[in-house]
Amino acid sequence: MNYSRGSDIVSNATTGKQGFPNPLQWIGAASLGLFSEVGRLFIFFLKVMATAFTPRWYLAQVWKQMVNIGFYSLPVVGLSAVFIGAALALNIYEGGSRYGAEQFVPSIVVLGITRELGATITGLMLAGRVSAGISAEIGAMRVTEQIDALETLSASPFRYLYAPRFLAAIIALPLLVLVADIIGIMGGWLVSVYALDFDSTTYIRNTMDFLTNNDVIVGLIKAVVFGAVIATMGCYQGDRSEAGATGVGRAATLAMVGAAVLVLATNYIMSTLFVEIGL
């Protein structure tokens, strides 16, 4: 594919008489660049969706990507979740003790982890590990003509490369979030029982009493969306990678940053929506 990047449009903006950028032209060019980038990303996303949910499916590729995205992310997700859960318990205890509300630690930890932090932390970790990885891999394939080779061999890169990563991400992310939820809650329990002198049985009972199915479902819905965001950004930036190590490196950075920002933005939008509909 040959198209200019948003930043290219900005850099091509006409400069003033003294060589300084004309601010109005710069703002105009930046806006056009942003809109065209968003438009291209959206079209790319629709194309990935269209191929992911229609046959033919390369199931071996999906499985391979699920192992890569899901299984190999377990350590980073688990470690992040345990520390977040532990830190959350400590902070809730610290804040709650000012009002004599220490007993709310289990319920706020479980709510915070399942509805918010389990999915968000998993999304952010995978934005770094998976989105950048996918982008670097596809970028390297793009610059070494492997994607052109795929097309000449009658295999669509959307079907063979991007759709399996997309499907694997939207399946693996909810599973990882479930793991993150369990380990995150366990992190809170560990700190509460061993550092804050909570009774273990009471802590677990309070957690179970407060937890509802909706709390878990909210996190899982978010995870599916984050999976779509992470895979799409990785594939999109990789597909557009420019030649050379710098080009591939830049694509990986853009994928990671873009995926992380989109994870946080879509998280906020979904949280608002879920509160509105009472989920």
Binding site: N2, D148, A149, T152
Partner: protein, 254 residues
């Protein structure tokens, strides 16, 4: 005269303000081996990518076996590509697949052949390019550059195409390996009865594999004729290129 297997009519391609192809006219007959010469940045690869449908020209027509495929998509394009083989400059082997999986990629993915049968076909084809069955289970990173070119050649001929493109087939190879690749190209193209379009700036390779030679300069074909008169083309540009002189109408790309 029969319908040419490939015909480019006034093909133009630009990237922003950069006009790479400014009106390419070219015809390739069945069984013909055509070499397109041109300096670095002359648009050889862009021309080839347009012919293959990896890029869409801004203007002009591309006809494959008489059918206009300039803007074809879906099944028409897939049908065309089934009849075309391509050897990329870098080999473009898939890193994550073994040698035999690379060679039989089209058979496995497009034709859905059973893996056992596809592997047998791949090993047979590897033998045709003088590679033993022992390399079949290796990964591309585990074999030399010359072997990678042979594997890529095997991949391009396995489905017995009517037209094969060779993008700088000898670039990066030592003279002996390069000559062996040239021999394999001639042998395989002749045995298949396929047409071949090779783009190169390696004159030794061009002299060896070409029936006809065309020269691309500033986005246009400026000379087209039989390979055996290349030394007496009567064209100053071709003459300078063939003899590798810095002085002449073509300015060095530095």
């Amino acid at each position: 005269m029969s319908t040419p297997i490939l015909r480019l009519e006034n093909v133009k391609k630009s990237f922003g303000k950069k006009h790479v192809l400014t009106g390419v006219d070219l015809e390739v007959q069945r069984g013909e081996s055509l070499v397109v010469l041109g300096g670095s940045g002359s648009g050889k690869s862009v021309m080839l990518k347009n012919a293959l449908g990896l890029m869409t020209p801004n203007d002009g027509k591309i006809l494959f076996d008489g059918e206009d495929v300039t803007k074809s998509t879906g099944k028409t394009r897939a049908k065309m590509r089934e009849r075309i083989g391509m050897l990329f400059q870098s080999g473009a082997l898939f890193d994550s697949l073994t040698v035999w999986e690379n060679v039989s990629f089209r058979l496995l993915q497009a034709d859905r052949m059973r893996r056992k049968d596809a592997k047998e076909r791949a090993i047979e084809t590897l033998k045709q390019v003088r590679l033993g069955a022992d390399v079949a289970d290796l990964y591309p990173a585990e074999i030399s550059g010359g072997m990678q070119k042979r594997v890529s050649l095997a991949r391009s001929i396995i489905s017995k195409p009517d037209l094969i493109f060779f993008d700088e087939p000898t670039t990066g190879l030592d003279p002996i390996t390069a000559d062996a690749i040239n021999d394999l190209i001639i042998e395989q193209v002749r045995s298949l009865g396929a047409a071949a379009v090779s783009i190169t700036h390696d004159m030794a390779s061009a002299r060896k594999i070409a029936d006809n030679i065309a020269m691309l300069y500033e986005g246009k074909i400026i000379w087209h004729g039989p390979a055996d008169i290349i030394d007496n083309s009567g064209n100053d540009y071709v003459d300078q290129f063939v003899h590798g002189r810095a002085d002449g109408p073509i300015q060095p790309a530095i």
